[in-house]
């Protein structure tokens, strides 16, 4: 059966060039980078080269990059570390309603530990408003964390303007760039952010590794892990060397191929969106119509439920995802869709198609071949009034 992978926001395959580099650091160059001897020094050198690659990809200096176990750790580490060390200056943190749970739940947890939390609403496109942000800032605000682009609906936030607002008031600004990396330009100075989260497995690198950019001079401290003095006391634990090597290579390739990839993806995405909207009735596009990731198409299909669509698509070899509550067995559909004002029953019918570098026009043609009958069949089974 033809297999089409349309779930690149969930994870990506490791590029062969990346896998190849990593392999050597499993068996051949296996030393502990902390070790003084030959086996350790070789590896230390490679780790520092990888750090440079990550730094280059985001316009940072190598010493501003800390390696972590992934996007989740980076988000937690960024927010908790700023909050804990700056609480004498203020106890107010601002974030948005559409953040990834790694940010949202971390901020909410701080809300139970003496911090005051503002969760900014979004408009129907999932966009945070600059006015709302300006109004939310108080004398006590120490941190603003707003994601660069949404994993669920692809909407790109106006980080540059928001970060400028923060800087003017001396407030630290963190952005989660897990989804934007490799798809749109990500440059820490252009954006003007103080902390930025990167994850390996969303950019054709390995799972289980990420990075946190911390601008030089930022009042931040490691507050989660205690242990060895690795990463200049910013992250304890033996370095995930093959992961780090892979992340470095993936960042290098992502930055190098950015323009070409983005054009390729946007072409496919536009074709997909147009055909779905044209050929399938009762469908709504979710997320911003233009300020969206080039690889991201997300929809709500009326009268039917996401998981049953996914299963049906999977039986035809197409892999995608959904923000339906049923997908995760929870009772609430995606907090992102709800925050955008999408009603529950519609949010249940959400489907997210996220394209990747190996996708082709034929993949989209195939999708357009299988999808209408699936929708039709499920709608025929639905008790909802389809007027």
């Amino acid at each position: 059966m033809r297999r089409v992978y349309f779930d690149h926001s969930a994870t990506t395959p490791v590029r062969p060039e990346v896998a190849e580099e990593m392999q050597k650091y499993l068996t051949e160059y296996f030393g502990n980078p902390t070790s003084l001897h030959y086996f350790g020094r070789q590896v230390r050198k490679a780790v520092e080269e990888a750090r440079e690659k990550v730094a280059n990809a985001i316009g940072a200096r190598p010493e501003e990059v800390v390696f972590t176990s992934g996007g989740t750790e980076s988000d937690n580490m960024a927010i908790h570390g700023i909050a804990m060390i700056n609480k004498n200056r203020g106890n107010h943190i601002i974030t948005s309603a559409v953040e990834h749970h790694a940010v949202l739940n971390t901020v909410k947890a701080l809300g139970k530990q003496g911090f005051t939390v503002t969760i900014l609403p979004v408009d129907k496109y999932g966009m945070v408003s600059l006015d709302d942000l300006a109004n939310a800032i108080t004398d006590k605000t120490i941190l603003i964390s707003i994601m660069h682009a949404s994993n669920e609906v692809g909407t790109i936030q106006p980080i540059k303007d928001m970060a400028a607002m923060a800087r003017e008031k001396g407030i630290f600004f963190h952005t989660d760039a897990v989804q934007s990396m490799g798809k749109i330009p990500v440059n820490v100075d252009e954006l003007g952010v103080d902390l930025l989260t990167v994850s390996g497995h969303k950019i054709y690198g390995p799972k289980g590794v990420g990075a946190l950019y911390i601008r030089k001079g930022t009042r931040w401290r490691q507050t989660l892990f205690h242990g060895g003095a690795q990463e200049r006391l910013r992250r304890a634990g033996t370095e995930n060397v093959p992961g780090i090597i892979g992340l470095g290579k993936a960042c290098e390739l992502a930055a190098r191929d950015l323009e070409k990839e983005a054009a390729h993806l946007a072409g496919l995405r536009d074709k997909l969106i147009k055909e779905v909207m044209d050929k399938i009735p009762h469908v709504q596009l979710t997320g911003h119509p233009t300020m969206r990731l080039p690889n991201h198409a997300s929809f709500c299909f009326e009268f039917i439920e996401g998981e049953s669509m996914l299963l049906s698509m999977d039986m035809k070899g197409v892999a995608a995802s959904s923000g339906s509550a049923c997908t995760s067995g929870s009772l609430e559909p995606s907090h992102v869709l709800l925050a955008m004002g999408i009603p529950h029953e519609l949010a249940h019918g959400s489907i997210r198609i996220t394209l990747g570098r190996d996708n082709t026009e034929e993949d989209i043609d195939y999708f357009m071949e299988i999808m209408p009958p699936i929708v039709e069949r499920l709608r025929a089974m639905s008790p909802l009034d389809q007027e």
């Binding site: 049953s308 299963l311 049923c326 009603p343 029953e345 089974m381 008790p383």
Partner: protein, 123 residues
């Protein structure tokens, strides 16, 4: 995550549809929480002669709907009332823990349809 039985019932659901002149109709769930099941019964001499369903919900919801109609068909009302959520889930070879509530829906919808039938009888 789903058993083969579940996938079979999802792919080829038995007894999908409506019965226009049903003797009893039961609906549980609501569109806000996302899961809705509607069951139609045709009852003759205390026996379920025909049964159909319509479901808005996940794969487990569709499969349990299908299974519950299969199990109820031909049974007496008393027997059908004995049909438990657990029995439906077991007949499907089990459900993931998070999906057990879908099997609740199925048996509940059946019982609601029977209730509707009985209410009409008592009028």
């Amino acid at each position: 995550m789903y058993t083969e039985k579940v996938m079979d019932h999802f792919e080829n659901p038995r007894n999908v549809g409506e019965i226009p002149d049903a003797d009893g109709v039961g609906q549980v769930g609501n569109p806000t929480c996302g899961d809705i099941m509607k069951i139609y019964l045709k009852i003759d001499d205390g026996i379920i002669k025909d049964i159909k369903f319509k479901t808005f919900g996940c794969g487990a919801a569709i499969a349990t709907s299908s299974m519950v109609t299969e199990m109820a068909k031909g049974k007496t009302i008393a027997e059908a009332l004995q049909l438990s959520n657990k029995a439906v889930a077991e007949a499907l070879g089990g459900l993931p823990p998070k999906k057990m509530h879908c099997s609740n829906l199925a048996a509940d919808a059946l019982h609601a349809a029977i209730q509707d039938y009985q209410n009409k009888q008592n009028k």
